[in-house]
Symmetry: C3
Subunit: 333 residues, 3 copies
C-alpha cells in the first residue's frame, strides 16, 4: 500500500520540506533502499549518502533544514522516532483473522473478548480471561486463571502459568515462559535433602511490556513478581521470583535477575548482566554489559554507568583496567 | 481448606506453643499476611514484626521460646523448612485429573502407568514408558524409548529426546529440552568443513531432580550425561554432553557446563557461572556468580567459595580487587 | 546392523591394518566398549588402553603404524574424523516415515517437496516452501512465507517466523526460535516512552548450519540477519538483528551477539561470550569463554586468542592476571 509523504508527515509529527505528493510504499536502510522507500539519517554526515540513494524521501534532523535537497525531506527532532512511526503506518501489525482454531482446547469457562484470535494447537485453561483483539499464537499454553488484556500479541509456543495477569498491548515473542515456579529450596540440615519452598505467588505484567523469545519469568514465591508498564525485555532474559521491575526499564539479552531484586523506573541494563538476590538498582542507573551486582547491594546514580563485577562506576573501572594494562606490560612473560 | 495448628505442628515436626485449635488456610510473607495465614521468621529481630502482623500464627526458631507472644507459635530448628512443609500441607500439588487428552498422540506401544495424565497436544513416542501418576503437560514431546518414573510433573512444552531415562518425582518446568544432541564436531583439516561427531549416547536423570524453564541438557556423545538424585537446576541452565553431576547439587540460573565436566555431590553453583570442558568440581565446593573455570581445571575445597575468572578462592580474589581499587584511585583520569 | 572393517575403511578413507572381515556393530568410548564396537585414540599414550579394551578394532593416527597390535587398526590422519564418519555409517540418521500427520495444520498454498515428514501438531503457514526429505518435528511452527531447503531436520517445538530462508541439510534442535523480532526501540524524549523500531527484515540461514536447543536468532530490522554456510551454533546462543555471520564459524553455548555485529569466516567463539553491537571479528580469530567485546570494536588476528572483558590478546591478559595475583598476595587481608 502506498502513502503520501504529506500523510506520513502528519502521522509522525515531522515537518515536510518538498513535494508531499510523493508516494512511499516501504522503509529501508540506506544500503538497500529502492525508489519507493523512505530512509532516515540521524547525523549530518550521513545526509549526502541518503540524498544520493535511490530512496524516495529522507527523514532527517534539524541539520537538514536549508540543505539543497533533490528529494523531499521530513524534518523531525528525533528522526529515528519519526521513521519508526512512519514504519508503523506503512507496515501496520498484521491483523490475524479473529476466530478460535478447531484444534485449540478452550475451557468452557474462559471469558473471551471480541475479535480474539486463538491459533491451532492452543490450550486455554479454566477461568482464564482474554481481552479484545488479543491473539494467541499457535501452540500457546495459557493456564487456568490467567488474565490477558486487550490487543496483546502472544506469538507461537508461549507458556503462561496460572495466576498470571498481563496488561494491554503486551507483546510476547515465541518460547517465552511466564510464571514458572521460582528456584527456592530449603536444605534439611539433617538429611541434606533440598525441599521445595512454596512457589505459590503470582506474576503481574503491565501495559505495553514487550518480552523476547525464550525469556523466563518466575512467579513470586508467596507474593508477586511485577514487571512495570512499558518495560522492554530482550531474548533469553531470566527474571527470578519476587523481582519487582519498574516502568520503562530496558533489559538486553541474556541478563539474569535473581530473586527479590528491585529495578526502579527508567533503568537500562545491557546484555549478560547478572544481578544477585535482593539487589536494588535505583532510578535511571545504567548497567554495562556482563557486569555483576552482588547480593543485597544498592546501585545508585541516575544516568550513571556502572561496569565490571562487582559493578562500580565506569570511570573507576576504566582506571583500574588502565593500571592493570600498564602493569601487565612491565610483566615478563 | 483449613488446617489446625496442631495438625501443622505434627506435619512439620515443629513444637506448638499456644492455641493449637487456631485454623490456618494460607501461607504468606509478613507484608501480605492476613488473619488466616501462617508466617515465618528466621531471626529474632523479625519476630516483633511477625507478632504485630495480622497473621494467625508464626513459625520461628528457638529464639522465640519464652517470648511473651500474642499469637501461637511453631518452634522449629529450621523455621523456613517447617514453613515450607506447612505450605505443602496447605497447598498440596494440584492433582490433574488422570486421562489421555483426545488430541494427544500416544504410540500404541507406550507402557502407561496408573492414573497418568497426558494433556492436549502431547506426543508420546514408540516404546516409551510412563510411570504411575505422572503428568505430561500440554504440548509435551516425549520421543521414543524414553522412561519416565512415577509421580513426575512435566509442565507444558517440554521436549524429551529418545533414550532419556528419568527417575521418580522429577519436576520439569516449561520449555526445557532434555537429551538434545551435544555440540561435537570434527574439522576436516583439508576442506575446513566441520563434520558432526556422533551424538548417540543418552541422558539419565535421578529421582527428585528439578529442572527449570528453558533449561537444555544434552545427551552423551557415546556414553551418558548423568544428573544425580535430588539435584536442583534453575532456569536457562545449559548442560553439555557427557557431563556428570552428583547428588544434591544446586545450579542457579543461566549457568553453563561444558562437555565432560564432573560436578560432585553437594556442590553449589551460583548464576551465570561458566565451566569449560573436562572440569572437575569436587564435593561441596561453592562457585560464586559469573565465575569461570577453564578447561581441565579441578576446583577443590568443601565449603570453600571460589570467584572470578579464572575461578580462585574468594579471599584471594577479594584481595586482588582491593589492590586494584587502590591503584585505580591513584591513577590520573 | 553389522559392517565389515573393510567397508568402514573405505567409507572413512582410513587405511586398514589387519583383518578386514571383522564385523563392527557399534561405536564406543574406551570405557564402555564391547566386543563388537569400534573405538578411537588420538594420542600414542592411549593406544595401549584401546588395544587392551574389549573393542573389536581401533581407529588411530599414524603413531600406531608398526605397533604390534592384537586387533585390527584403521589408520587415519585425523582419527577422530575417521571415527565420526564410521559412526555415520553405523548409525545413519533415523529416517522418519514421510507423511503429514493428521493433526498438523498445513495451509493449502504450501509447496511441499518429496518425502517430507510433518509430525503431529505442526503448523505450516501460507506460502511456505518445504524441500525434499525435510522433516518438521512435532509441534513445529513454521510461519507464512518461509523457505526450507532439502534434507533439513527440524526437531520438536521449533518456531520459525515469516520471511525466513533456510538452506539444505540444516539441523535445528528443539525449542529454537528463528526470525523473532529484534530488540529495537526509540525513546520518545518528550514522553519517556519506548516505541518499537520496525523489525520487518528477514533471516537467511545457509546450507549445513546446525542450531542448538533454545537458541534465538532475530530477523533483521530493515535488512537481513545472515548465518553463513557450515556454521555451528550451540544451545542457548542469542543472535540479534542484522548480525552477519560468515562460513564455518563455531559458537559455543550461551554466547550473545548484539545487533549489527559481523563475524567473519572461520571464527571460533567459546561459551558465554558477549559481543556488543556493531562489533567486527575478523577471519579466524578465537574468542575465549566469557570474554566481552564492547560496541564498535574490531577484533583482528587469524588464529589469535582473545580473552577477558574488554577482550584483549590472551598473552596480555594472562600477564595482567599474573601481576594481579602477585599484588594480591602482598595485600594484607
Amino acid at each position: 500500500m502506498k502513502h503520501s509523504l504529506e500523510k506520513l508527515a502528519e502521522a509522525t509529527g515531522a515537518q515536510l520540506l518538498g513535494n508531499g505528493k510523493v508516494e512511499i510504499s516501504g522503509i529501508a536502510s540506506l544500503e538497500s533502499a529502492t525508489a519507493s522507500d523512505l530512509v532516515f539519517v540521524e547525523a549530518a554526515d550521513d545526509l549526502g549518502a541518503a540524498l544520493e540513494s535511490p530512496a524516495a524521501a529522507v527523514v532527517a534532523g534539524e541539520f537538514a533544514r536549508g540543505v539543497q535537497a533533490r528529494k523531499p525531506l521530513l524534518i523531525a527532532r528525533q528522526p529515528r522516532l519519526a521513521f519508526a512511526r512512519a514504519g508503523k503506518v506503512i507496515f501496520p501489525p498484521r491483523r490475524r483473522e479473529p476466530g478460535i482454531a478447531s484444534t485449540a482446547f478452550v475451557h468452557d469457562s474462559v471469558k473471551m473478548g471480541k475479535l480474539v484470535s486463538v491459533e491451532p494447537g492452543c490450550y486455554i485453561g479454566e477461568g482464564t480471561v482474554i481481552g479484545d483483539r488479543t491473539r494467541i499464537g499457535a501452540g500457546g499454553f495459557i493456564a487456568p486463571r490467567v488474565t490477558l488484556g486487550d490487543d496483546c500479541s502472544i506469538k507461537a509456543h508461549v507458556t503462561i502459568y496460572s495466576d498470571t495477569t498481563i496488561g494491554n498491548r503486551v507483546v510476547v515473542q515465541a518460547g517465552a515462559v511466564l510464571g514458572s515456579d521460582g528456584f527456592g529450596y530449603v536444605r534439611d540440615e539433617t538429611t541434606g535433602v533440598y525441599e521445595k519452598f512454596p512457589q505459590v505467588g503470582r506474576l503481574e505484567i503491565g501495559d505495553e511490556v514487550e518480552i523476547g523469545a525464550n525469556v523466563t519469568i518466575d512467579r513470586g514465591a508467596l507474593d508477586a513478581t511485577v514487571i512495570g508498564r512499558g518495560t522492554k525485555i530482550d531474548n533469553q532474559v531470566h527474571i527470578g521470583h519476587n523481582v519487582r521491575i519498574g516502568k520503562h526499564v530496558v533489559i538486553a539479552a541474556q541478563t539474569g535477575i535473581s530473586g527479590s531484586s528491585v529495578i526502579e523506573d527508567n533503568v537500562v541494563i545491557a546484555g549478560q548482566v547478572g544481578l544477585a538476590d535482593h539487589v536494588r538498582i535505583t532510578e535511571g542507573a545504567i548497567l554495562g554489559a556482563q557486569c555483576g551486582v552482588p547480593s543485597n547491594k544498592v546501585i545508585r546514580g541516575k544516568g550513571m554507568v556502572f561496569w565490571g563485577t562487582p559493578a562500580r562506576p565506569i570511570r573507576e573501572y576504566l582506571k583500574q583496567l588502565a593500571v592493570l594494562a600498564r602493569l601487565g606490560k612491565k610483566e615478563r612473560s
